[in-house]
């Protein structure tokens, strides 16, 4: 759980006064806090860890890293969530969309 996974910013929105964004990880989307990468733009990539973008990435690095993580089988574990947590995510998605 010390890995951060690259994802692409699909949109940006504010929730409870915090900058958030929907991020696409190889087909799985999640709502992620963008407060630590305030100048990131839609279409750019970020390294994401436990729901937070922690660093911007260039596209080439992001795609290569995603591919490696997919091959290592760690993508699902890092994005992993139980039914309960997924339910929470879905609810958040529903609330902001």
């Amino acid at each position: 759980m010390c890995l951060a996974i690259p994802g692409k910013i699909v949109n940006k929105f504010e929730a409870d006064g915090v900058q958030m964004g929907k991020i696409d990880f190889d087909g799985i989307t999640k709502n992620i806090c963008l407060a630590y990468v305030p100048d990131i733009k839609i279409g750019e990539y970020a390294l994401v860890h436990v729901g937070f973008a922690i660093e911007k990435l260039d596209e080439k690095t992001a795609l290569e890293t995603l591919q490696i993580f997919r091959e290592m089988g760690v993508l699902e574990e890092e994005l992993g969530a139980t039914t309960e947590a997924q339910g929470v995510q879905n609810e958040i998605s529903a609330r902001v969309s």
């Binding site: 759980m1 010390c2 890995l3 951060a4 409870d16 006064g17 915090v18 999640k30 806090c33 407060a35 630590y36 990468v37 305030p38 390294l47 860890h49 436990v50 729901g51 937070f52 922690i54 660093e55 990435l57 260039d58 690095t61 290569e64 890293t65 591919q67 490696i68 091959e71 290592m72 760690v74 574990e77 994005l79 992993g80 969530a81 139980t82 309960e84 947590a85 929470v88 995510q89 609810e91 958040i92």
Partner: protein, 369 residues
Amino acid sequence: MKYLQEFRDPELAQNILSEIRAATTRPWAIMEVCGGQTHSIIRHGIDQLLPENIELIHGPGCPVCVTPLDMIDKALAIAAKPNVIFCSFGDMLRVPGSEKDLFRVKSEGGDVRTVYSPLDALKIARENPEKEVVFFGIGFETTAPANAMAVFQAKQQNLENFSMLVSHVLVPPAIAAIMDSPTNRVQGFLAAGHVCSVMGYAQYPPLVEKYKVPIVVTGFEPVDVLEGIRRVVMQLESGRHEIENGYKRVVNFDGNIPAQTMLAEVFRTTDSAWRGIGIIPQSGWRLNEKYRQFDAEAKFDVTGINTVESPLCRSGEVLQGMIKPHECECFGKNCTPRKPLGATMVSSEGACAAYYNYGRLAPKAEHSI
């Protein structure tokens, strides 16, 4: 060649390996302090591709593994309380406490929920105002900004029913403790790339100078790990000790300033216990006084717990590089990922679990190249 074909760029990997082979004239011991790197090394057989006399020592880089037993026991005690919803990252649920684990608490009726992010726990708190919602805030510097933001938000939103059981640990003091140990064998370090993406690497030059030890900021992908090892070996062979950044596409010297600002707002450093190792001075974070109302240790009475580590588990020796996982008598017998005796067998980033999952059941196998 079994492993090399699985590299994204086998030719590049082969070239780096050839350079390492050509340069290596003596035995060297190099430590990685990152569970992701440990996983990558064992998954791709990097340790078996290296020259015989380069040893990789898997350091205390798995946050799940080093979370101290008394914090696990406190988590178990809080999670068992009737009015509590206890939220945690999934890989903490099977970590053995003195008597049981969080899965057991859940099966006994405790409301234990796994969440992806600490912000999910905040949402659960908002939706369950009649319940106490506690989040188990563990991890290294990579995870700390997320947990700091959750506490900051809880204060902003005046969420009185939210609290955090904080057990955060820091990499640089652990490196110092390893170098200070009289039994230390480590001669060079791979620094964890994603920790440095948050913190930068300004904390490392003083360690390099004090201990005369090479430290190379290193990524997680197999080629990144090989490149980190190559840089450490080149320094060792030429008698240099420097900080190098081998992961420039992600890490810069200063790190993520907004994240560091939030960390300074919410946390302060404290002496911290590391499971299997002991107390390391100023190696952890706890909540600042301003956020004390969100400290689960202050909110719940969890003192006087008697902690008992398994007498059979040798994870402390594994974490300090004194033995390899398969050298423990229990490995793969009465200790497996499904029934772990110690935390290093739980997380996929723990050295014991990585050895088990990738079939390292015997000492160093025959070289494949």
